[in-house]
Symmetry: C2
Subunit: 313 residues, 2 copies
């Protein structure tokens, strides 16, 4: 029987839903704005509406299930979401069961960075390997770890908080309570902070810094070098810990690869003898923003859920 799944990616300002078949072919997609300020019920209604739209187009027959990538930690057994500062009313709420009830379709929730890692593994740069680490470099830094072809969750769904690895023990303060977190030294936000310290302008954005650096501005280049150093320290640690064949970077800061990657590789080489001995790949993800959408759609296939197991709604 022809089978497909629906993947949903909940972004900062909009949501996307796509029907993807078991070979990774995208059959249909919708995207819609999300009124995050309107609260939980409205957000959930918007998610359900997008999923219904795709399901109505492709047909309920053959729908294996729905995977949803969410910025937060998913308590796997209960389907409760935690650590969702940007999703009002989601904290501690049984999001999975509620959406499942409204749709009558099995739902699998996953952290958005984990979903992106799974997407790259399924149909992206990680095709052909079963173990990889993904770092998503955006306003913050997320992480996803794939072991044996599946997301490593840890016992409460919080594994892969790679943006909060300490790279400089006395580094920049982080909202998590730590100092020197990777994401305070290598995210878009970190770049802007460094640029401010270097008096590159008050309203300067990460893209402005990129353009300045491409134009040869020394201080802007310094920001990317500092970022590369922090990433190199983090990657060297991950390589020493995991000895995986593949480490991927993705996210909004990726276009600046040529500015930070040389320093990053220098740092990895000098800090990880496992890198020198085993020569793992450190590469850019190839799915871009679609990674999370594909990964979310892959979840129902992995979990072996079947639409027929539950009542249709």
């Amino acid at each position: 029987m022809y089978e497909y799944a629906i993947g949903v990616d909940l972004g900062g300002t909009n949501l996307r839903a796509a029907a993807i078949d078991s070979d990774g072919q995208m059959i249909d997609r919708v995207s819609a704005g999300v009124q995050y300020s309107a609260g939980r019920d409205v957000i959930i209604a918007e998610i359900v509406t997008a999923i219904r739209a795709v399901r109505d187009t492709v047909g309920a027959n053959g729908l294996r299930g729905v995977g949803i990538g969410i910025p937060g930690y998913i308590q796997l057994e209960t389907g409760v979401v935690m650590g969702t500062a940007n999703l009002p009313g989601f904290e501690g709420f049984p999001v999975r069961d509620e959406i499942q009830r409204l749709l009558g379709t099995p739902i699998v929730l996953e952290n958005d960075a984990n979903a992106a890692a799974l997407g790259e593994k399924w149909i992206g740069a990680g095709r052909g390997v079963n173990e990889l680490v993904l770092l998503t470099l955006g306003t913050g830094i997320g992480g996803g770890i794939i072991v044996g072809g599946r997301v490593l969750h840890g016992y409460l769904g919080m594994a892969g908080e790679l943006g909060h690895m300490t790279v400089f023990p006395d580094g920049n303060p982080c909202g998590c309570g730590n100092c020197g977190c990777l994401e305070k030294h290598a995210s878009a936000t970190a770049l802007v902070g460094m640029a401010r310290m270097l008096h590159l302008g008050d309203g300067v954005t990460a893209e402005d810094i990129y353009k300045l650096a491409m134009g040869g501005n020394t201080r802007a280049l310094q920001c990317f070098k500092s970022m590369g150093r922090a990433l190199g320290i983090a990657l060297a640690n991950l390589i020493n810990i995991f000895n995986f064949p593949l480490y991927l970077l993705s996210g909004g800061v990726l276009p600046a690869w040529d500015l930070f990657a040389p320093i990053m590789f220098d740092e990895v080489k000098s800090r990880s003898f496992t890198y020198s001995r085993t020569n793992p790949r450190i590469e850019r993800g190839i799915l871009g923003k679609e990674a999370g959408l594909f990964g979310a759609a892959y979840l129902p296939f992995q979990h072996g859920y079947s639409f027929q197991d539950t009542a249709a709604g």
Copy 2:
């Protein structure tokens, strides 16, 4: 049928072999000195002699296989050992096949720290959990990671090099080429190095420093505080990465727990919000030096090897 396995632990100056049944009961054991300077063939002959002695006592009937913990990286498919500076002639040699040929018994090789982690998981402090990290604090620092009840190997058997995580990017130089490796800030060797810097005496040992600290010597206490800080940084990273329920410390430096652990816990609390949220256990291993022996014996049970599969020799 009654089944047992033989575990072998290759230590710095001696080797131990033990017959252990599938319930983790030790039935018989031998230990012997090893003439490491005599070269590979002599070392292998000594290993084989110890295993034969145990097998002859307990009987070849019911022997499921032999697991051997070795300081080095094991290439799983070939059974070749790498990174064995202390084992002359072992580098790149097919140790597994050679011992298997001499004994006619299936052999499973494993890195010694990985074997210790598996031992604690099977019959020690990790009984009841399927995911844990072990740090062995000795002259160096080794690591073992258990995921889904099994050793995490990575693609070339080098996963778990936790002693070479960078904790201070500009810290003490390490033979691996890096600066600020955990083992240069938290091992017995690191303690001695710090004591030398603090003029605590030329020939001072880690045990001397321990005794001085217990007697109230401020500089000796400082060494353990510095060690605790480095361990805390490393553990906070591991907790953020894995979200496992259990992190274990073992090894020769463990008696000094009360001297370094308070600082270690302070550091973990301030650096890992995953720690605060999920409250994982950070504890001492309970098997001491036996952990590696038990873990090695557990390997043949896990791998499902059967003595009957190969010709007896």
